[in-house]
Amino acid sequence: MWQWFHKLGSPRWFYQISGKFLPWLALASVVLIVTGAVWGLAFAPEDARQGNSFRIIYIHVPASFLALAGYYVMAAAGAVGMIWKIKLADMVMVAAAPLGAALTFIALFTGAVWGKPTWGTYWIWDARITSMLVLLFLYIGIIALSHSFSTRESSARACAILALVGTVNIPIIYKSVDWWHTLHQPATIKLSGAPSMHPDMFKPLLVMILGFYCFYVLVLLLNTRTEVLLREGRTNWVKDLAQPK
């Protein structure tokens, strides 16, 4: 068990294993996202109330899901790195921050663009939207913090603490549509009970969510591999990678 744990924390082992998954993850993301997007844009039925603007849901909901799930990944990696002093976990935390920030930005942007034809305004300071904006600032704060220390150890600890404190925001985002009366519609997909959506509209959404999950894992691995190369440049195995055969 401990040997396995140790191996999992080895950047070299991670680099070799993750390299085998990359092509499959890339293939799965492209196939799922292209299928879901074409299905959602052209073949899903039009929404009776919102018209065609509802098709933005196929980007907005998966991006929001991964923006939130990505925060858990980042905070958990930060905690593991801080408690067990595993370098790789710290690299995963740093790799997750820009990815999460980009997905949060997509969620906010598509939400704003969707809001214009539906609510008549791009932006409104309601609970769901404001707490998502706080999420974006948390991600950006972690990116900034990770660049502002001279030693990796203090940088990793500061980022992990900020990430863990920031998790308070996540249940607020989830519950914001129930706790406050807002313009934002309540959750379409719930863990308990059927989705409040017609199956013809729901199936492409499910494909998109799966595609976004694959895409998230793909980019997280890619970013972590970049961090590995950046930090392990003095080791022999990375030097061998740099030597063309």
């Binding site: 065609n52 603007s53 098709r55 980007i59 214009k116 980019v219 890619l222 970049t226 440049g233």
Partner: protein, 68 residues
């Protein structure tokens, strides 16, 4: 089944075209960049490391030649 009568109707989306296509377009650009940026950065890192190693090799060779 295809929900639109023709390609023009598909592009205009009943007046919602700019919103829908704008959302999909920007997301595509951002996600493409997310996937390609780390690959480019890795290539740059490995190239720099390679150049550094070559420079070190040359330096060591130069020292050896001076010694003989």
């Amino acid at each position: 089944m295809f929900q639109f009568e023709n390609l023009d109707a598909f592009m205009s989306m009943g007046g919602h075209g700019p919103y829908v296509w704008g959302s999909y377009g920007l997301s595509l650009v951002i996600m493409g960049w997310l996937a390609l940026a780390p690959l480019r950065r890795q290539r740059v890192l490995l190239t720099k490391l390679h150049q550094r190693l070559q420079a070190k090799d040359r330096r060591m060779q130069g020292e050896r030649n001076e010694g003989s």
